[in-house]
């Protein structure tokens, strides 16, 4: 429970921290487009360098990123392995016994590994490490604002998201506390057969549900007491404003995108 750094905000003072959340969302989208268009060796290298640069700009210790990558390590290894062994191509790179590895397989494995890693790191930087959840939902609400003309309840969705995000850390903390309390009474989560293990979870899940419902109810009452309504035009305490910085970052990402496309077209060299 304690190692969840993926999806966490690290307060700081970097350029990225100061950006408007809407600009960060747009930047993240451009960045993701960059990740998916990079397919040649040169483009991937360029992407990797750009990602490292963004990570450095964020001012967050590299160790944090490495820890954030740990949960996806397995998926990463699996994808790379599957690509390496399963891709059928024309040129055999080497073979032993029944395993044949093709050059195309190696290319694919590298491509996927770099894409997944940069995708996770890049979106972490923009959307979670440098942006507080509240700012993120504010930005999302504002970006999706035009949809409310089509009677999509954008504000309500963003309110729900804000509340959900706000409660995740609380829920984790509470799970920790309840687990400790039951362990203190001799609960054992790590031995016995599957049935026994699932049964051992009941003393945690029941109090967790009870308190979550109770908390939801209390929050609803508290909001109603302050006459909260989602369907009226609500204003924000912090009004979002784009600054020069936001345009510079978004423009740089667009340049990155064009550069990657250009490299793909003009220098179509692959891993080998």
């Amino acid at each position: 429970m304690k190692d969840i750094t993926l999806g966490q905000y690290f307060p700081g003072n970097s350029v990225l921290h100061k950006m408007d959340p809407r600009a960060k969302l747009i930047s993240a989208i451009i960045y993701i487009a960059v990740v998916f268009t990079s397919s040649s060796a040169g483009a991937l290298a360029f992407l990797a360098v750009a990602t490292v640069a963004i990570m450095l700009i964020s001012g967050i210790p590299i160790s944090v990123y490495l820890r954030g990558l740990r949960p996806i390590l397995f998926i990463l290894a699996l994808t790379a392995a599957l690509n390496l062994f399963m891709t059928r191509g024309e040129t055999v790179a080497f073979e032993f016994w029944i395993v044949k590895i093709y050059v195309e397989g190696i290319n694919n494995a590298i491509l996927m590994a770099v894409r997944i890693t940069t995708l996770v790191l890049g979106s972490c930087v923009f959307l979670s490490y440098t942006t507080s959840p509240i700012a993120l939902t504010d930005g999302l609400e504002s970006l999706l604002g035009p949809l409310s003309k089509l009677h999509v309840p954008v504000h309500d969705f963003s309110m729900m998201m804000t509340i959900a995000l706000r409660f995740i850390p609380l829920l984790i903390e509470e799970t920790d506390k309840i687990m400790s309390a039951q362990k203190a009474r001799g609960s054992d989560f790590s031995s016995g057969g599957p049935v026994k293990r699932v049964r051992a979870l009941l003393p945690i899940l029941i109090p967790l549900f009870v308190s979550s419902f109770k908390r939801a109810e209390e929050l609803a009452v508290a909001m109603e007491c302050r006459c909260y309504r989602g369907d009226v035009e609500r204003t924000h305490m912090k009004v979002l404003r784009y600054g020069a910085l936001d345009f510079v970052v978004m423009a740089s990402l667009l340049v990155l995108l064009s550069a990657v496309i250009a490299i793909n077209i003009f220098v179509p060299i692959y891993a080998f």
Partner: protein, 289 residues
């Protein structure tokens, strides 16, 4: 033998992140066998962190914890046995209740110990009595109880394991005066009947003065003082310096002493001070009345 001894124990939350926080910093301390020790300290001084290490819920970054002379982390597989011997009631333990009836919930600990049904029944009744849980409540759902009743049920749930050391994190916080006295005297009765070592975390100097033999004071994760309650409360100025105080009655007694009234003996409980004032008055031939 249920003495708990800490040797240079340190614990850090969120090590190597921007949120790093050393909650317990090099504490060496012995909780003596069969005594009731009060653990006091300002908010965030590391009390809850410290008590969670006593039964191995948290593993110290460095240092050792000995229970009856044996290091509890010597065999991590046997930690569960340590948890049966060191019963921990966490802060706000109400949320740990989960079973259909209060009786079943109190029985959760003993059941995990693998005791016989008769033994479990007996322990449930006994611990319900110690913690002041009314027998009529035993067959109700724990979710129907009031806050104070839930607290007692949770404490009974830990006492039912009949631990040789009982650790309670703010057992009386947020209860009415009658409720806190009932819980604290129940804890003392438990200690007297079973000879258990008891550690009580509390913010209330008055309660500490009445119920504890020894007192340990934490400040910013470090041990500031440890001694009998007389020794600790005598160091009033130092306590004030770390944001704590002494029982109000001790404050009054100290003020009286600076006014020249000679008070001897116990100046930590209302009864004690009353006796001391009478003695002093008698010694002066009634002049001070």
């Amino acid at each position: 033998m249920s003495e708990i001894k800490l040797e240079n124990v340190t614990y850090t939350y969120g090590a190597k992140t921007p949120f790093e926080k050393r909650a317990v910093d090099g504490i060496s301390l012995t909780f003596e066998d069969g005594k009731i020790t009060g653990l006091i300290g300002h908010t965030g001084s590391g009390k809850s962190t410290l008590v969670q290490m006593l039964n191995g819920l948290l593993k110290p970054d460095s240092g050792h914890i000995y229970l009856g002379g044996a290091d509890i982390w010597a065999e991590p597989k046997k930690l569960r046995l340590v948890r049966f011997r060191v019963g921990l009631v966490m802060q706000y333990p109400e949320y740990q209740l989960f079973d259909e009836t209060v009786r079943a919930d109190i029985a959760f600990g003993p059941k995990n110990m693998g005791l016989s049904p008769e033994e479990i029944d007996e322990r449930v009744i006994e611990s319900a009595r110690f913690a002041g849980v009314d027998e009529k409540l035993l067959d109700k759902s724990p979710f129907e109880l009031s806050g104070g009743q839930k607290r007692r049920a949770a404490i009974a749930g830990v006492m039912a394991m009949r631990p040789e050391a009982l650790v309670l994190d703010e057992p009386a916080a947020g209860l009415d005066p009658a409720g806190r006295d009932a819980i604290l005297s129940g804890i003392r009765t438990y200690s007297e009947k079973t000879g258990a070592t008891v550690i009580i975390v509390s913010h209330s100097m008055e309660d500490m003065a009445v119920y504890c033999d020894d007192i340990a004071v934490l400040a910013d994760g470090k041990l500031k003082m440890k001694g009998t309650r007389e020794e600790v409360f005598r160091r009033r100025d130092e306590l004030l310096a770390v944001g704590l105080g002494v029982p109000m009655i001790t404050d009054i007694a100290c003020e009286l002493m600076t006014l020249g009234v000679a008070l001897g003996g116990d100046i930590y409980t209302v009864g004690g001070v009353a006796d001391a004032i009478c003695d002093s008055a008698a010694a002066n031939g009634g002049e001070n009345r």
